[in-house]
Amino acid sequence: MFLNLFYELRDEGVPVGMQEWMMFLAALEKGLHGSSLRRFYHLARSCLVKSETFFDGFDRAFLKVFEGVEGELDIEPQLLEWLEDAKTFEGLSEEQRAMLERLSSDELLQKFLQTLAEQDERHDGGGRWVGTGGHSPFGHSGEHPTGIRVGGKPRNRSAMKVAEERRFRDYRTDETLDIRQTRVALRRLRHLTRSGAQSELDLDETVDETCRNAGEIELVFRPERRNDVRLLLLMDVGGTMDPFYEPVSKLLTALHAERGLRAFEAWYFHNCPYELLGRDARLLRQDAIPTGDLLRRLTPNWKVLIVGDAAMHPAELLEPFGNIDPRRMTETRGIDWLHRIEAHFERVVWLNPELPELWDDAETVRLIRRIFPMFHLSTDGIEQAVKALIGARSTVH
């Protein structure tokens, strides 16, 4: 039954497993969808989807599977199957069953569409059943679970309308960047260690020591657990990065709000880091620091996050004197600086605000991806990037 929905959901990237699917079927068996498509939609969503970030994917899958229900003539076969299912439903009386048998699927369909059309005109929402008046093939007064009611109560939007609006688009995490969710992802940038002043009561040790001390209380203290992660942010500014101002500034807001880090530094470059890095986005020469100094000063256990679209003229990356800023001629190639950064630090990731499907269009992106693992600047991408910075080291870039 509706197995297509299951596969469409998975195609949309909604993580549905058998356990959820069985729960959904159990709910249908209990007739929890009542008699309306709207309730069916919500029931399916409650059982199958466990995060609002996948609601949009659910809406798209639902639309694909049940699109015909909107009243277009090319009704999906699933709906027909659904109508067929109603015939085998046990709650029907003999009379109703006989009536159902007389109606072919085509007729059912016709009546169904007719009802839809009527409702559009009269705009009275629900209350009417597929079929005619009080002789609905699907039972009386809304009791039968498999009956189909079009729309819902007045003023309630139909499931299709709800699905079509795609109201949950903003909750997607693979396309958008939400500061709150980003902060949740960044919170994983944690490596807890105990060092420093002994300020926390160690209860277990205290109990042990007290027992050894024949019941006289002996207090044991230990240092508090604290985050040991140090983060270096290197950011591309200006030029092709301008269109990405919004997601980048959201990332910055989230990073600056993240107080759990042991240390945080941000330096800026244009297109590719060369021998100098700017203190802020203006890249003023008097504020700049030599990249080499930075590498000497920071220990390899600093985590490095590079943000940039990695798209530039190949010469900027591969040729000596590649820096397009004429005041900053330098012989060392951009790609060599990237290799030095990669070699110095244990973990470096690259966040690219450009859509991943466009990455391979630029030669420089392809080259840089060979040096650093690259992730999309979306909530999902940040989460993956954080995992790459903090989690078990993977061998594949």
Partner: protein, 293 residues
């Protein structure tokens, strides 16, 4: 023995306006005997829901407010060793009987109660990432063993478990798979009018309109770092009423912006928008179809 949940049906209560899908989700959780996981923006009434479900179903209510230091074990029972040690040292209480130092937590109490209860596990995301996983077996089987005494506590009546999350962190998949999920959407115009009426009963209709138009307009701005929520709206209206700002002023401006926006960069961005001569909408029609149905 667990009674059949068939005849329990939640329909909302007088004070709590639950949307039809929410009511359905509650009833699905009852019928499927699954925990109900509720998520939603702050200020959408997640915590309140459980209380009103209990009220609507005529059941007793048990709340477990989860904190960052909460352990799953605490919800089941606590063995008060410190009290026992203290009693032992000073000869108080019945030290020989461990049972008198076992104190049931909210979950333990709702299991052992002789009537079915609604158990709210509030803000489960506040606790450690492993916290929900530690409760899987108890939620599935509705039983646990008190290790110190080997007593088994089995739910007499399966409690209806409602869990809220503020999205502070992701919940483990194994846990999610077992839940019926409902996301409370941010209240729309009609519902918001009802909510405002609860706090400010005699608000001028014209003022209410202007206030809500500005509020939803602000929320629609995608660059906004922190969207104003219901509680900020209520506070803002209080400020407006106390200061006696005229409706005309609110039509053209957003006075006391500080009550709505809590992020400095948001306030700055809006100031700049204003300086550039940007205007604020004063008609619902300017807000798009979502607000004009």
């Amino acid at each position: 023995m667990i009674e059949s949940p068939e005849f329990l049906q939640f329909r909302g209560t007088e004070d709590y306006i639950a949307s039809a899908p929410l009511v359905d989700a509650v009833n699905a959780a009852i019928a499927l005997e699954r925990p109900l996981l509720i998520k939603g923006e702050p200020g959408t009434g997640k915590t309140l829901l459980a209380k009103h479900v209990a009220e609507g179903l005529g059941l007793e209510f048990e709340m477990w407010h989860v904190k960052s230091t909460s352990k799953a074990q605490e919800g089941l029972y606590i063995y008060d060793t410190v009290q026992r040690l203290n009693d032992a040292r000073f000869g108080d209480g019945n030290v020989a009987d461990i049972r008198s130092y076992i104190k049931l937590g909210p979950m333990g109490r709702s299991f052992s109660a002789d009537k079915r209860r609604v158990l709210l596990i509030d803000e489960i995301d506040k606790a450690d990432i492993e916290f929900p996983n530690d409760l899987l077996r108890e939620l599935d089987e509705m039983r646990f063993t008190v290790m110190e005494t080997s007593d088994e506590i089995v739910a007499q009546h399966r409690p209806l478990v409602i869990i809220t999350s503020n999205n502070e962190r992701e919940l483990p998949d194994a846990f999610l798979r077992r839940c019926v999920f409902h996301f409370i959407e941010f209240p729309g115009r009609k519902l918001m009018e009802q909510i405002v009426a609860v706090h400010h009963p005699h608000l001028d209709a014209k003022l209410l309109d202007q206030v809500l138009i500005k509020f939803y307009w602000l929320r629609e701005q995608s660059q906004m770092r922190k969207k104003p929520s219901t509680s900020e709206l209520i506070d803002w209206i209080s400020v407006l009423l106390r200061s006696g700002v005229s409706v005309e002023k609110i039509e053209a401006h957003i006075p006391f912006l500080g009550a709505l926006l809590k992020n400095e960069q948001d306030t700055e961005a809006l100031d700049q928008y204003h300086e550039r001569g940007g205007r604020y909408p004063s008609e619902w029609a300017e807000l798009g179809p979502r607000y004009n149905n």
